[in-house]
């Protein structure tokens, strides 16, 4: 299992991006690619080749699921875990996102201090044990 290093975060909300940046770069010491839209994500993520993509569900223009769908055409997801971030809590929605290929769902508002540890946990799970 490779060490979790590169994380791409896609969110249209600038402040969320800023907090995630602090939480992930300062606490988790990860390499972060912040994208402000699905479109930007499509342009930059395949090249970046992240270990985890944190994808906001509700975005103007391309929303999270559409962005994921289009990303699949551009890159291999074998070694990349997709985690949706959403304010919706319905368990049926979680199932739905998983059916799209998401590994897990993080609920907003998330715990900024614990985010890095949470991702590390998921990364371990993603790579099996």
């Amino acid at each position: 299992m490779s060490t979790l290093q590169k994380i791409a975060h896609v969110d249209d909300d600038e402040s969320i991006r800023a907090i995630a940046k602090v939480a992930l770069e300062r606490i988790g010491k990860f390499t972060l690619l912040s994208c402000a839209s699905g479109k930007e994500a499509l342009e930059r993520i395949p090249e970046f080749a992240p270990d985890i993509i944190l994808l906001d569900v509700m975005m103007p223009g391309l929303d999270g699921p559409t962005t994921l769908k289009q990303l699949r055409e551009k890159m291999n997801f074998e070694k990349t875990a997709v985690i949706f971030m959403t304010a919706k809590v319905q368990s049926s929605e979680v199932e739905y996102y998983k059916s799209l290929g998401a590994f897990n769902v993080i609920l907003k508002p998330f715990d900024a201090m614990g985010l890095s540890d949470q991702l590390k946990n998921y990364w371990v799970q993603f790579n099996g044990e």
């Binding site: 800023a18 907090i19 995630a20 602090v22 939480a23 919706k88 319905q90 998330f110 900024a112």
Partner: protein, 1022 residues
């Protein structure tokens, strides 16, 4: 003529004729037709006053005329008897009158025959004999004249005659008789005795037959009677008959009976009239029960004593007839007194009976007051009128006294006097205004009440009339009614009218008017009764206007109001707000029933509402839909009450609110809340994230003062996040969007997780959470939701505990593999006034007391919703100041309770164990009855067990049953509660339980039937 004559020669023949004539013993003549000459014998010559020597008289110049006996005209020459004989005619006894020129006429009977010449057979001579019958004829003439006289006489007296041949039965009737009875002579010729008898009136026939028989037998010299005989046209004619046998046969047997009939109809009519008058008189005398009539003869001996007199004086007719009047009937002192008076007046002594009839004898009827003495010796005042009775000739034949009992009249007058006094008293003392009003409307007599009512003095009022003080708008109507009253169209009338008081104030009055008339029916004055109904009128006005207002409220209410017949479900009244949304016209709407406009799937809810109505008199608000005329639906909220109309009909008043708009607004609101909450999360994420990073020291050291502030901000943003999460949860729960994913779980790890998750929170409140009674058991539940519930309950318990307190979490096994989780604190407890709202949204015990507890107010509402979603039950027990005990009971698996498959479980909360045992015995075969003899046991049992019904006594050794009711009502509202108590049940309780039974009124069978109907209801709804 013998043969010798036939052989006579012609020469000798004339001689022979003369000799033959001479020898003929009767007057005779011979006529020689050839020479037209006549030869008379001497007898004939004498009779006809012809000279004896006259021979061969020329037949054309006889010196006398011949005529028929009843005529004066002479016969024509050809009709002369001798000419007839010459022509060959043989005749005998033809009566003729021969009138000689110088003597009186002679009546002769002529017989004639022709003699022919013996050889030539030619007519030779005609012989005619003339028998002088003048004396007989004259006699007959006389008789006939007499008869004619009689006839005329009879005709003049309407008398008919008849003759009856007793032996043959034949009858002869005179023309007069036939005229009397309308028959023609021909018709009468058919009559015999039998048919004549049949004409008699059946009532008279026996008398007629008897009279005839008596006469024929000789006991009566005359057959004489009066009878009715039928006129041909049908009416009866009264006839007086006189008849007599006038001929007997050789054996002296009666042969002929002749009679006359005299028409006496007029006489009979007169007699009848007299008889009628007489019977009238008798009837009057006899029937005058109120008037005593006493008749006497001229000497004062009583001859008539009528029933009125009998009644008045008490004597029977037999006792008094023949007695002397003054002696027996009168007060002697009065008679003496009058006697002295009269004697002085008339200057002669008048005594005894004469005292009474002195004036009457002079033709004056005298009326005078007397005192009678009746049989019992009682004195009676009478007014006695005495008059004389006269016969046809004007002679006094007796006296008639008519006495009227004045005693009764006097009493009546006294009574009338009393009545008048009473009336006057009533008139003056009554509270109702009364007046006598003249025909012109002037007040004639008024009472005090009226004066007070109208504010005038009596004098002022009497100087006025009713028209003056009547409200002008009412006057016309009043006068019209008065006119009707005057005309006799109505006996009285009443009307509502207005009067002006003297002070100008208007009063409302009820007027009643009758009319007083004299004996002839002429109006005298009016009697008016006037009642002041101003107060009532105003009250009614107020009532009416209040009714109008209510009616307006009903009509205009935006909430539908409908009155239905409880039996039929048909609408009796419904306002616009009910009908308009349905799309039906008013007529159509009142033809359909509540069930018809409610979709079928609401039938269970409807029958539940009906049961509620039946059991509690009201049904709680529930939502259903109505079907519009076009088939579309809209939601309504219905609630109502049952009422009994005075007629006994049961009706339901329902408020039916069209909640389409509310539903739409709810949806918009929910969507809004949902959207807003959602939109809040993103900035909240940023705020709390940013703050937590700074406070967490990720970005380096922060001066401690700033850090304190940032910590406050971080904590507040966390609370805000929780609130937003709760709101979203609640929203989802209410919208049914909350997904529950049940899975088989070990209970204890979840409990441990909850306790450890809340430990920090607890310590922040200085409260320790301990977990007792570990239960290793699997349950089927949603872990996340269960944690949410436990977090809520634990955080509540911590928040409401005093610092240093303890919150206990205790798990135990429940019935049917269920699990009960108890969370017990010993904090301030739940205030009584808050209990009813405890599971409601945004409920918090006291707004002023939240500073140290902090909560969203949604926690318990979410807990209840979630617990139920997990198939569990939540409940609590609490006493203010003594802490709270919340519990949830979760099923091991989804359990659907089904009465059909399971014996219903009932908890009977009752401290009288004997009574409880009796009840349990009654239902032991179909109900599993559990007993709790005090409240704490009951709470324990409810927590541990599921019951399908609670039978609750209110006064229990450790408290009032109301607190138990509250717990059940709030936590398990579907579990029916039946109060079975000997005490009064508070209204709030009675309205919110399935049934209330009073121990003293209810028999055990009533309890059983109530339980039965409740469980039957459960079955019906499955």
């Amino acid at each position: 003529m013998d043969s010798n004559n036939q052989h006579a020669t012609a020469q000798a023949s004339e001689e022979f004729v003369r000799n033959f004539l001479a020898a003929t013993p009767t007057p005779a003549l011979a006529f020689f037709g050839n020479s037209n000459s006549i030869v008379f014998n001497t007898l004939a010559a004498d009779a006809l006053n012809i000279a004896h020597d006259a021979q061969n008289i020329d037949a054309n110049d006889l010196g006398f005329t011949v005529s028929n006996t009843d005529e004066h005209f002479p016969l024509a020459a050809s009709q002369m008897p001798w000419v007839r004989a010459w022509r060959g005619e043989t005749f005998s006894n033809v009566s003729l009158k021969i009138s000689p020129s110088n003597s009186s006429p002679v009546v002769v009977l002529c017989s004639g025959k022709l003699m022919r010449h013996p050889e030539s057979q030619l007519p030779y001579v005609a012989f005619v004999t003339l028998a002088d019958v003048t004396p007989q004829f004259d006699k007959e003439m006389l008789q006939e004249k007499n008869q004619q006289h009689l006839q005329m006489l009879l005709a003049g007296t309407n008398t008919g005659t008849w003759e009856w041949n007793i032996q043959t039965g034949e009858m002869q009737f005179s023309a007069q008789w036939s005229a009397l009875l309308g028959y023609s002579k021909a018709e009468l010729s058919e009559f015999n005795f039998d048919s004549w008898r049949d004409l008699h009136h059946p009532d008279d026939l026996p008398k007629v037959s008897e009279t005839i028989r008596a006469h024929l037998q000789g006991t009566e010299p005359l057959f004489s009677t009066i009878s009715r005989i039928k006129h041909k046209d049908g009416h009866w004619v009264w006839l007086q008959v006189h008849g007599r046998i006038y001929r007997r046969d050789d054996k002296n047997q009666p042969l002929l009976l002749a009679g006359i009939h005299l028409d006496v109809s007029d006489v009979r009519a007169y007699e009848k009239q007299a008889k009628v008058s007489e019977s009238y008189m008798a009837a009057v005398v006899n029937s005058s029960a109120n008037v005593a009539i006493i008749a006497t003869d001229t000497e004062g001996v009583i001859t008539i004593f009528n029933p009125g007199a009998q009644m008045l004086l008490g004597y029977t007719e037999e006792e008094i007839i023949g007695k002397h009047t003054p002696a027996i009937l009168h007060l002697e002192s009065e008679v003496v007194k009058r006697s002295i008076q009269l004697s002085e007046q008339e200057g002669k002594e008048i005594t005894g009976f004469d005292v009474f009839v002195y004036d009457a004898r002079r033709g004056n009827a005298e009326t005078r007051a007397w005192t009678y003495i009746d049989k019992q010796g009682e004195h009676l005042s009478v007014s006695l009128t005495v008059s004389s009775l006269l016969d046809d000739s004007g002679n006094i034949i007796g006296f008639l006294g008519i006495a009227i009992d004045e005693t009764a009249q006097r009493k009546a007058e006294e009574q009338a006097q009393v009545a008048v006094q009473r009336f006057t008293g009533a008139f003056e003392s009554t509270a109702v205004g009364m007046a006598l009003v003249s025909l012109e409307g002037r007040w004639m007599v008024v009472n005090d009440a009226l004066c007070q009512m109208l504010g005038y003095t009596r004098e002022e009022l009497l100087a006025s009339d009713f028209q003056t003080i009547t409200h002008p708008d009412d006057l016309e109507n009043d006068l019209a009614l008065l006119t009707k009253l005057l005309a006799g169209d109505v006996q009285n009338y009443s009307m509502h009218k207005r009067y002006y008081r003297k002070d100008g104030q208007l009063i409302q009055a009820l007027l009643w008017v009758a009319i007083v008339r004299d004996r002839n029916g002429a109006p005298i004055h009016f009697v008016s009764q006037i009642q002041n109904i101003t107060e009532e009128y105003l009250a009614r006005q107020r009532l009416e206007s209040s009714e109008t207002r209510l009616r307006g409220l009903f009509d205009l209410s935006p909430i539908g109001i409908i009155l239905m017949d409880f039996q039929t479900g048909k609408a009796i009244e419904a306002n616009r707000a009910v009908i308009a949304p349905t799309g039906y016209s008013d007529e159509e709407f009142f033809q359909i029933t509540d069930r018809e406009i409610t979709p079928r799937e609401y039938a269970p809810a409807m029958s539940q509402a009906i049961d509620q109505l039946r059991n509690t008199g009201r049904y709680e608000a529930f939502e259903k839909e109505h079907i519009r005329k076009d088939g579309s639906r809209y939601p309504v909220l219905a609630q109502g009450i049952l009422m009994k109309e005075p007629s006994g009909r049961l009706v339901v008043w329902s408020l039916v609110e069209d909640i389409s708009e509310r539903k739409r607004l709810d949806r918009i609101k929910n969507e809004f809340v949902s959207t807003v909450s959602h939109e809040l999360r993103t900035p909240l994420t940023s705020i709390s994230g940013a703050l937590s990073l700074i406070v967490g020291g990720v970005l380096g050291e922060v001066p401690s003062e700033i850090l304190d502030m940032l910590k406050i901000a971080a904590k507040s943003s966390e609370r805000l996040s929780l609130l937003v999460n709760d709101l979203l949860d609640m929203d989802k729960l209410l919208a049914g969007k909350m997904d529950v994913k049940l899975e088989l779980l070990d209970l204890q790890p979840v409990i441990n997780e909850a306790v450890s998750a809340m430990a920090a929170f607890g310590s922040s409140h200085g409260v320790k959470i301990i977990n007792t009674g570990k239960l290793h058991k699997q349950i089927r539940t949603d872990k996340g939701r269960l944690l949410q519930i436990l977090n809520n309950l634990l955080s509540n318990a911590c928040k409401h505990s005093k610092p240093g307190g303890q919150v206990t979490l205790h798990c135990e096994a429940g019935p049917e593999d269920s699990v009960i989780i108890n969370i017990i604190d010993n904090g301030q407890g739940i205030p009584d006034e808050f209990r009813s709202r405890i599971f409601q949204k945004f409920a918090q015990a006291d707004a002023t007391d939240t500073s140290d507890t902090q909560g969203t107010g949604l926690g318990l509402a979410i807990c209840k919703e979630l617990t139920e979603r997990l198939g569990g039950v939540i409940g609590y027990e609490s006493e203010e100041g003594q802490g709270s005990h919340f519990w949830i009971r979760l099923p091991r698996a989804e359990t659907e309770f089904n009465f059909e498959e399971r014996t219903p479980r009932v908890l009977h909360v009752e401290d009288d164990s004997d009574f409880a045992r009796l009840v349990a015995l009654q239902v032991s075969n179909w109900i599993d009855m559990d007993l709790a003899s005090d409240l704490s046991t009951a709470f324990e049992k409810i927590r541990l067990n599921h019951y399908d019904l609670i039978l609750l006594d209110l006064f229990l050794p450790d408290g009032h049953g109301e607190s138990l009711w509250e717990t059940i009502h709030l936590a398990q509202p579907d579990v029916p509660i039946v109060i079975l108590s000997g005490h009064e049940v508070p209204r709030k309780l009675a309205d919110n339980v399935a049934a209330v039974l009073h121990k003293d009124e209810s028999t055990l069978s009533r309890v059983v039937s109530t339980l039965h109907s409740i469980f039957k209801m459960g079955e019906a709804q499955e």
